[in-house]
Amino acid sequence: MSEHVSSLKLYIGIWLALLAGTLLTVIAAGIDLGPFNAVVALTIATIKATLVVLFFMHVKYAHEKLTKVVIISALFWLAILLALSMADYTTRLWS
């Protein structure tokens, strides 16, 4: 089997990036950015999640291409769930 073996340096680098992201999101939460506090927090969380998926879960080097199809489909369904639900609840008081 010829599986990709990531270097130790890469794993340590991702680990440090994730810890730095955690520190950054805690610091950013203490600053009043108005509605952008939620945006910043979720952006940092999404960057951290992407690092975990690509490098720790080896999706960047996935041999099986269907893996990426499954992940993108799952995120697409999640987007439908959240977008359509919020489109309903946020517009109920408009009339």
Binding site: L18, L19, M57
Partner: protein, 235 residues
Amino acid sequence: MPNSPVATANHEVRDNPALLHHFASEQQQKDAASLGMWVFLATEIMFFGGMFCAYLVYRYWYFGDFGAGSQSLNVILGGTNTAVLICSSLTVALAVRAAQLGKQTTVVVCLILTMLFGLVFLGIKGVEYHDKFVEHHVPGASFHFPGHIPSHPDIPINQQHAQIFFSLYFIMTGLHALHMIVGLGLFSVITYYAIRKRYGPHYYTPVEIAGLYWHFVDIIWIYLFPLLYLIDRHK
């Protein structure tokens, strides 16, 4: 045809006892297992997605009460737990790498470290739950959450709405903790086999698959931490 799957299969069946007869090659067997785990994780995304959706809807409706509830959580314990989970994700990734390289002892050490980090996480979570019980912040007959909405000293906290926040807090973190406990069970079995040197460069699928599950549970926490603990911290 030296490169055809059948030719490879006949060759590898003799070499690797872990290769099941209905797979053409080690690579195909591992890809199938990995894809199956990803399909399961897709269902898990929908499972947790429903709760995240409920959180978003109620946070939108009861914004101030959710802010007050969020501020009552302990950021230091929550942040420490985030770091602990990130460390456990690193040790899982290193366990898979060690298995790929055939370093049997390192696999066992990394797996045991992962389980220790997992137990530390659950311990800290237990301390947080204990604090919430002592403060009467658990939804139910004895729920008591006095005070006012952040940056609105004239609006008292609505007890019903605050209970929705704490219900979501306990359900989401509780189901996350349940997933951690399942992960600890998986890793106990895998560590047992790792000690018996079952995993190496030609067969480490269980380490990789359980690792995928563990990383996924880590990702759920990466979103739970800012949503529950941080978003209303600045007021």
